[in-house]
């Protein structure tokens, strides 16, 4: 057996020390924590300082405060202090921050400073909800095509191109009065919106959304929805939420620790938009016009809408203001103590409403709510004076709960397109805890059973193999912690399975050494031969499992993916530990003896 050079020993022990260090935080129990972060779009000066001040003033015992940028994590001694602190922080820090309960490894600070974190737990282990949402792209293209119809028509009119335009499903059909203008018209449309692709037909043109146009439109709508969802999730007050796009029309939302899934569903998917529109009082006063409108023929430029608490009225189609100009909304009560939503507008919105109301004092202004695809008027108060950036709305049979929810939805903005829940997985807290127990039981049980068997069966080389197994455990834990990929229950199963399969490499090596010894080689040469000759088979074994692991990763979803990640990483770490680490250990056990080694212990 050739001796392992010192640098190899150094390198291997260096890696193992790092692995031990980075897997250390995962071994500490979790402590109750509060996570504080700014809501998207909000700003607060010195959030960190203020948080510390609030805690100090309230005399709350804190174990540790970590601050990274605008997110702060406070570790408490027990969960009573944690809950008390949340109450105070929520009141003192106001509505611009999210104050969420969480847990965190109680590892000492110096580990944290080294960037060593505990393994992140997946939803099935910590409890919570995972939604897969699908964005209704048909709605988006439909809206795009109907607005394109108008835009194209206006653009052609501007160039004095006489035409008629109609929409047939996904195509705009444009008939030209003068066929010679075809080329010209194509240019105009192409310049109006490059997302339209125009082709000439026998009697005019047809325009459809081009495939890149479709991608752009989808991209924009899904992106906007992600932003809105992010703001809405902020309102739910969960720690470490995940909102991410998946594919071209889906969004994953993961809310750890959330229990009230019904409320989450109602808030996330809700389509709520607010519009301020003038009331056509003159037409509404006439019974005959109103009756005709009820039969579907409204006067041009108006629309018949009903009040949320009964009755209907004709409302102008022109929108004075939409929810987009609302920068803040909170619920409270009006002077009479009735539930109300207080609104604050941005500069543009304030300008718009000021200009509109100035000349229309005494007229009615309809506050129109589009909620869950139903359009209704909350109230239509008379304009008593010029309105400014701040005003309130009430009425429509709105109670405090409704006012609260409406304020929340207005704050977070409207969804660009409807979304539908296509998959939901909710794990209750008791199941999460059970899953951790099951997973850890499988890993430790597997480790002990395999370790004892191998240790007994192969003597000193068995102990060496067990050493390699421990090294594998450390390396895999450290890798999972550093990568930050959430560990799931199938992941823990993969962990246990990896430990069982990783030992295969050592079995191959040990069996080979036994055979070489039986074949008459001296112990040192037998060990040497055992390691070098077994490598090809070890590679073979790992390669085929890796093929399966990669296919699982690419084609698998959620839980299966977690299994695949651990399986693949485990193969990599086990190659290192089974071959290099065990070889280094064998070298330590036998390599230092001078002269010939006459006997080795391999069972």
């Amino acid at each position: 057996m050739k001796r392992y050079p010192l640098w190899k020993h150094g390198l291997i022990s260096g890696i193992l020390v790092l692995a031990a260090l980075y897997s250390l935080p995962s071994s500490y129990p979790a402590s109750p924590t509060i996570d504080i972060r700014l809501k998207s779009g909000s700003e607060i000066v010195d959030l960190h300082g203020r948080t510390r001040q609030v805690l100090a003033d309230a005399d709350i015992e804190v174990r540790r405060v970590n601050a990274v940028g605008n997110s702060i994590s406070i570790v408490f001694v027990d969960s009573e202090t944690q809950l008390a602190a949340r109450q105070i922080l929520e009141i003192e820090l106001g509505t611009d921050v999210v104050v969420a309960l969480n847990t965190r490894s109680s590892a000492p600070e110096w580990l944290d400073e080294l960037g060593a974190k505990a393994i992140a737990l997946g939803l099935d282990l910590r409890g919570g909800v995972s939604f897969l949402l699908q964005v209704d792209l048909e709605f988006v293209t439909d809206r795009f095509l109907s607005s394109s119809t108008d835009i194209v028509s206006v653009a052609l009119q501007d160039r004095q191109i006489e035409h008629s335009i109609k929409r047939e499903q996904d195509t705009l059909l444009i008939e030209l009065a003068n066929p010679d203008e075809q080329r010209n018209a194509i240019d105009v449309i192409a310049r109006t919106d490059p997302r339209l692709s125009v082709t000439a037909t026998s009697d005019g043109l047809s325009a459809t959304i081009s495939s890149t146009g479709l991608e752009q439109i989808a991209e924009l709508a899904v992106g906007q929805n992600v932003e809105t969802l992010r703001r809405r999730v902020d309102e739910l007050g969960v720690a470490e939420p995940l909102i991410a796009r998946q594919g071209n029309q889906r969004i994953v939302v993961q809310l750890p620790g959330l229990q009230d899934t019904a409320r989450a569903k109602s808030i996330l998917g809700r389509r709520a938009a607010l519009e301020l529109r003038g009331v056509d009082e003159q037409s509404s006063a006439s019974g005959s016009i109103l009756n005709r409108a009820r039969n579907g023929i409204s006067p041009p430029g108006t629309e018949l809408l009903s009040y949320a608490d009964g009755g209907d009225v004709l409302v102008e189609r022109r929108i004075v203001l939409t929810g987009e100009n609302i920068v803040d909304a909170s619920y409270g009560s009006d002077e009479a103590g009735r539930p109300a939503v207080h609104l604050a507008l941005d500069a543009l919105g304030a300008q718009k409403i000021k200009e509109y109301t100035r000349s229309r004092i005494g007229e009615q202004l309809a506050i129109v709510l589009i909620d869950r695809d139903r359009t209704s008027i909350i109230s239509a108060p008379r304009i008593e004076s010029e309105l400014h950036a701040r005003f309130l709305i009430h009425g429509g049979g709105m109670g405090f709960d409704e006012a609260n929810e409406l304020a929340l939805l207005l704050r977070s903005g409207a969804l660009a397109a409807p979304i539908e829940i296509v998959e939901e997985r909710t794990i209750g807290p008791s199941l999460g805890a059970d899953n951790i127990r099951s997973g850890l039981g499988a890993v430790t049980g597997g480790f002990l059973l395999v370790g004892v068997l191998i240790g007994l069966y192969y003597g000193v080389f068995g102990l060496i193999s067990v050493g390699a197994l421990i090294a594998n455990l450390l390396c895999l834990t450290a890798l999972l912690a550093v990568l930050g990929a959430g560990l799931t229950l199938p992941g823990l199963a993969g962990f246990a399975l990896t430990l069982g399969m990783a030992i295969d490499a050592n079995v191959l090596i040990n069996e080979r050494i036994r055979e070489e010894l039986a074949g008459g080689l001296s112990p040192r040469l037998a060990v040497e031969a055992g390691y070098t000759r077994a490598i090809a088979t070890i590679m073979d074994a790992n390669l085929t499992t890796l093929i399966a692991g990669l296919a699982l990763f690419v084609l698998g979803s959620g839980p299966v993916r977690g299994f695949a990640v651990v399986l693949c990483l485990g193969l990599v770490t086990s190659m290192f530990t089974a071959v290099l680490v065990s070889r280094a250990l064998a070298d330590l056990a036998y390599g230092h003896r001078p002269g010939r080694v006459s006997k080795i212990s391999i069972g």
């Binding site: 897969l132 699908q134 229990q259 019904a262 569903k265 829940i421 296509v422 998959e423 939901e424 997985r425 909710t426 209750g428 008791s430 199941l431 059970d434 899953n435 127990r437 099951s438 997973g439 039981g441 499988a442 890993v443 430790t444 049980g445 597997g446 480790f447 059973l449 068997l453 191998i454 069966y457 229950l489 199938p490 199963a493 246990a496 399975l497 069982g500 399969m501 295969d504 079995v507 191959l508 069996e511 000759r533 077994a534 090809a536 073979d540 074994a541 085929t544 499992t545 890796l546 093929i547 399966a548 692991g549 296919a551 699982l552 084609l555 698998g556 839980p559 299966v560 299994f563 069972g603």
Partner: protein, 306 residues
């Protein structure tokens, strides 16, 4: 300690007609069951909703049914275990059904706590199904490609057949017993595909090595028997250690890991069986002979180990 080093070579290959008929029968039973009984697919693949609730006091199945029917939920299957674990399955396309059924149960038992809800919409379930089938295909193709590069075609086909046998065997067992086939079980099947091929590879490598070293008149069956015998110790220890890890999952892994671990157990046992009683016999049946190993390639010299 040496427990698995037989003094004499096994004599298996001579009886390969009998074992072949036996294997074919087993596979046939699996295939018949898969066609007639099919698999008991979990909500992942069928779509719908599954709700698990822990009840704090005794509520009769009848009361639960009545409460659920009153809320207009689509005809749920109710499964109530002795320990108060209630499982509801509904073929619903409305994600709110989960919240509604929890509310209905809470009206009977206010302390009832939610364990889990799994809602899988029709688009997602069909995607999971397709992707699962694709993954199975991709892994099979990947392994076939690997084997065809690694071995002469007769051996490659032998190993592939052995491998597919393992998959059919796991699926057949799940179908026969009516165990639930979920995403984790599929993951176990795929892991076994990658894992079990290895056993045939080790035996075939040894066959190749022994054939070259053996005298010209030694029957190829004896070479196979000798190779199986020589690798027996490794086979038992390797599979034994993997099985110990899986055993820990069966014992300590709770309900959540049970079927996953069960699929692995069947797969591990099946892969020992098939690498010995299927891979070799199929290769011999396809006409594998000594002549196939006359040309010694560089790869073969390197690859022949253990």
């Amino acid at each position: 300690m040496r427990l698995f080093t037989p003094k004499q070579n096994f004599r298996i290959m001579r009886h390969r007609r009998i074992t072949g008929v036996f294997s074919a029968l087993l596979v046939l039973i699996c295939i018949i069951s898969l066609t007639i009984r099919q698999l008991n697919f979990a909500v992942d693949f069928t779509g719908g909703i599954l709700v698990e609730i822990t009840l704090s006091n005794l509520v009769s199945t009848e009361a639960i049914r009545t409460a659920l029917t009153a809320t207009n939920l689509p005809d749920p299957t109710v499964q109530l275990a002795e320990d108060g674990t209630l499982l509801l399955r509904m073929q619903s396309e409305d994600p709110a059904s989960g919240d509604m059924s929890l509310a209905a149960i809470r009206s009977l038992d206010p302390e009832a706590s939610l364990r889990r809800v799994e809602y899988v919409g029709p688009q997602v379930s069909s995607e999971l199904f397709t992707n699962g089938a694709l993954a199975l295909l991709a892994v099979s193709l990947g392994i076939m490609l690997y084997l065809s590069l690694r071995f002469k075609w007769r051996m490659a086909i032998g190993a592939i057949v052995a491998n597919l046998h393992d998959v059919i065997f796991i699926l057949g067992a799940f179908s026969l017993a009516g165990w639930e086939f979920s995403l984790p079980v599929l993951a176990a099947v795929l892991a076994i595909l990658g894992y079990s091929v290895n056993e045939s590879v080790v035996i075939f490598d040894r066959v190749r090595e022994n054939l070259r070293a053996s005298r010209a008149h030694t029957a190829i069956e004896d070479v196979f028997d000798a190779s199986i015998t020589q690798t027996w110790s490794r086979t038992i220890i390797t599979h034994g250690s993997t099985q110990l890890a899986v055993l820990a999952m069966l014992l300590f892994g709770g309900n959540a890991l049970f079927f996953f671990a069960l699929a692995l157990t069947i797969g591990i046992l099946s892969s020992i069986y098939s690498s010995i009683l299927i891979a070799g016999p199929v290769a011999l049946w396809l006409g594998l002979s000594r002549q196939d190993f006359m040309a010694v390639t560089k790869r073969a010299q390197d690859g022949a180990v253990v």
